[in-house]
């Protein structure tokens, strides 16, 4: 038996990004620890670099913290939902194993991280051109521009990652309907878990009013959805 080449091979990296569904489906069929390791490495590097660019504006130490936190969020989301995703897929009509579902999710996260990593020099350049983060930063157009740039880049990476995952699911299940169902279920689970992880891992861009820290005080004392519900309640209370 010949060993599967790892993603460190540039051609395999191109295959991953260009979304050659048949090849990617073959990869998930032949579970290879080296390839999984390579996907994890791409996630760590790509999201790490992007995280560093994100936190750099506040402080170099914040860059280091976010460079660690962002890959952690992606990896923990993939691992935390691995079992659930593997159970949901057959229930919704896609007969894949635990390993296959984990490999597919890691693959899509690796695509997202690779895109984020490629855009990190551009974001770092934008931060380099921004004035230092002062107390009135949130009212400046620069803050708006940098925040919007993050939204655009992350949304683009997310859309591409999910589009590639959808193509892979179609290839695995031979049905658009089943693939759509599984993708929506996986997305819902990942969004639910991922948003809470991101909430815990605040601050990401950072605030000039708050000290640079890995986790905010009370990071484990509230949750994202609780905060959203409070905001909604306050909105309607003010309306009255």
């Amino acid at each position: 038996m010949t060993a599967q080449p790892a993603i460190s091979n540039p051609r395999e990296f191109r295959t991953l990004l260009s979304g050659e569904a048949a090849t990617l489906a073959d990869w998930t069929g032949h579970f290879d620890w080296r390839r999984i390791g390579a996907h994890v490495a791409v996630i760590t590097m790509g999201a790490g670099l992007y995280g560093a660019a994100m936190g750099w504006w506040r402080d170099p130490l914040q860059a280091l913290f976010v460079g660690i936190k962002l890959p952690l969020i992606l990896l923990l989301t993939a691992l935390g939902n691995a079992l659930l995703n593997a159970m949901l897929a057959p229930l919704l009509g896609l007969n894949v194993t635990f390993r296959q579902s984990l490999a597919a999710v890691l693959m899509s996260f690796a695509i997202v991280a690779a895109i984020l990593g490629a855009f990190s020099p551009l974001l770092a350049f934008a931060v380099w051109n921004a004035p230092p983060m002062m107390s009135d930063v949130k009212s400046t157009p620069v803050y708006g521009f940098i925040k919007l740039s993050h939204v655009v880049v992350i949304a683009f990476a997310g859309i591409v990652g999910n589009a590639r995952l959808f193509q892979l699911l179609v290839q695995l299940g031979r049905s658009h309907t089943v693939a759509r169902r599984v993708l929506v279920a996986w997305l819902a689970a990942n969004l639910f878990f991922g948003s809470q992880l991101t909430w815990i891992c605040r601050p990401l861009i950072g605030s000039p009013h708050l000290s640079v820290q890995f986790f905010r005080e009370g990071a484990f004392k509230s949750n994202f959805f609780e905060d959203v519900s409070h905001t909604v309640t306050r909105f309607f209370d003010d309306w009255d």
Partner: protein, 236 residues
């Protein structure tokens, strides 16, 4: 659809030194594109890098001649380094856009394409250099000179991007949307770089600016300063 690279025997002639590289990119760009795909492309890439640095330094001297003093050496260094940093910052996103659109391009070839873009740009800037020098010596209006240099850069960039587009068309990409998006990013980064490394024209005690600005704000300030200076001159 352009004929495949290498079909014409002229495409297969090796590019051995910087002078041949300049000649090839102006007269036979397909030859450069073909040679970038061959095993010994490192030599061509080095030649292209050399020409880019040399031409940008020469054009930088012309830019610096407007103010003289520190700018004689600061402007060439800033233009040369600035262009290379722009390429370095934008290269990863070009590679990702290429891969996402299914282009069959290796990293080395991508580096060569971007260097081709820079080389063609800087060669054309050398063509504009005598005109730029004449105006540098015969006007004191900084805004006017700024607009003139921007115009020359715009024309040179346009031709450089045309080369990149032609090189990409041989990469079997499914769509050109990624490349078009990247072009916008590249142009914006170049414009911002010109502000981040200011002053390229005009005098300053500092090599680099102490205040960060967005390029549109900077241009606005320059125009206001020029208007103020004009008004003062009229009042005097």
């Amino acid at each position: 659809m352009p004929p495949p690279l290498g079909d014409d025997p002229a495409d297969r002639e090796p590019v051995l030194n910087p002078i041949t590289a300049v000649e090839a990119i102006l007269r036979q760009p397909r030859r450069v594109m073909y040679q970038l795909r061959q095993p010994g492309a490192g030599r061509l890439i080095s030649s292209m890098l050399f020409v880019t640095v040399a031409c940008s330094l020469v054009y930088g001297v012309i830019v610096g001649s407007f103010s003289g003093g520190l700018q004689w050496w600061a402007a060439p260094v800033k233009i040369s380094v600035g262009l290379l940093i722009c390429a370095l910052i934008c290269l990863p996103s070009l590679y990702i856009f290429g891969c996402l659109s299914g282009a069959q391009v290796r990293v080395r070839e991508m580096v060569g394409m971007v260097l081709g873009l820079l080389m063609l740009m800087t060669i054309l800037l050398i063509g504009f250099a005598p005109v730029a020098w004449l105006f540098s010596q015969s006007t004191e209006q900084i805004v006017w000179m700024g607009v003139l240099h921007l115009l020359f850069f715009a024309v040179a960039t346009g031709f450089g991007l045309r080369f990149l587009d032609a090189a990409f068309s041989h990469a079997q990409a499914r769509s050109a949307v990624g490349l078009r998006t990247w072009v916008i990013i590249f142009v914006l980064v170049m414009l911002q770089m010109s502000t981040a490394l200011r002053p390229l024209l005009g005098r300053s005690d500092d090599f680099l600016p102490t205040k960060k600005r967005f390029f549109l704000n900077h241009w606005g300030e320059c125009i206001k300063d020029a208007e103020r200076a004009d008004r003062n001159r009229v009042n005097d």
